[in-house]
């Protein structure tokens, strides 16, 4: 797994590439936590660009859920974009569709923060 970090205005975008499985999920958690710490007043506006994620396991999904909880508690938001079919089904299977905000494109996701 590789993660590229970008900032657009007050929004932080993580481009995630590869496999979010095994211990890589801990790496993702660490990166998200660092972004929370670096955010103003602890309020993070986060877009996760999942376009190049090949597979994500239940630990990876768990990281998304716990990040969602802690970030929204601090009045931040977590938005998923470019979900491939398999990640989408994973979220559907786990009944988390109503939890995560999702947009088709990054542009739409950024617009949602304005």
């Amino acid at each position: 797994m590789q993660v590229n970090i970008r900032h657009k205005g007050s929004v932080t975008i993580l481009d995630i590439e590869g496999k979010i499985i095994g211990n890589e999920t801990l790496t993702l958690k660490r990166i998200i936590d660092e972004q929370v710490q670096a955010s103003e007043g602890g309020t993070l506006n986060l877009i996760l660009n999942m376009a190049r994620v090949q597979i994500m396991d239940s630990s990876g999904l768990g990281i998304l859920v716990s990040s969602y909880s802690s970030i929204t508690q601090n009045k931040g938001r977590v938005v998923l974009v470019n979900l491939g079919g398999n990640i989408r089904s994973l979220i559907v299977m786990a009944k988390l569709v109503t939890i995560f905000e999702r947009y088709e494109t990054e542009a739409e996701a950024i617009a949602s923060f304005l």
Binding site: G22, S58, V65, A94
Partner: protein
């Protein structure tokens, strides 16, 4: 592979999470060899990673002196995967349903649920140290 002839590929991995990537390439190659379609491939791949993670983490508690043992049984019409760990086991029925509202926001507890959702058949031995999972090339009508 002759008619009804099964091929068994066996793998034994030390219980370190770093070996999940090896497990991933192996199941990917086996699914490729069996010419599974893309969607079931992704499902079986996920189920094997979940089951391997459980054997290594919960079963063998990441003790590198204990191995997790895998059997991939390749038949004409289906792939059976058997995963054995050397821990103290658990009881499937005691695991909470991750779809219950009070569990939805938990950060863990979805592994077995996903294995069952991804495979056609999943069964544990009584002790909970061995899981067998089956995927048919054509999902049987139920």
């Amino acid at each position: 592979m002759g008619e009804k002839h099964e091929q068994v590929i066996a793998l034994s991995l030390p219980s370190s999470m770093q070996h999940i990537y090896l497990l991933d390439v192996i199941i990917t190659e086996i699914l490729n060899l069996m010419k599974f379609k893309e969607e079931p491939r992704e499902l079986v791949n996920l189920a094997v990673i979940e089951a391997g993670t459980n054997a290594i983490k919960h079963g063998n508690k990441e003790n590198p002196d204990k191995n997790a043992d895998f059997q991939f049984i390749i038949a004409e019409d289906k792939l059976t995967i058997i995963i054995q760990d050397y821990g103290t086991g658990f009881t499937r029925e005691d695991v909470a349903n991750p779809l219950e509202p009070e569990n939805l926001l938990k950060s863990s507890g979805r592994g077995i649920f996903l294995m069952e959702a991804c495979m056609d058949e999943v069964s544990f031995n009584a002790q909970g140290t061995r899981v067998s999972m089956v995927k048919y090339k054509k999902t049987p009508d139920t």
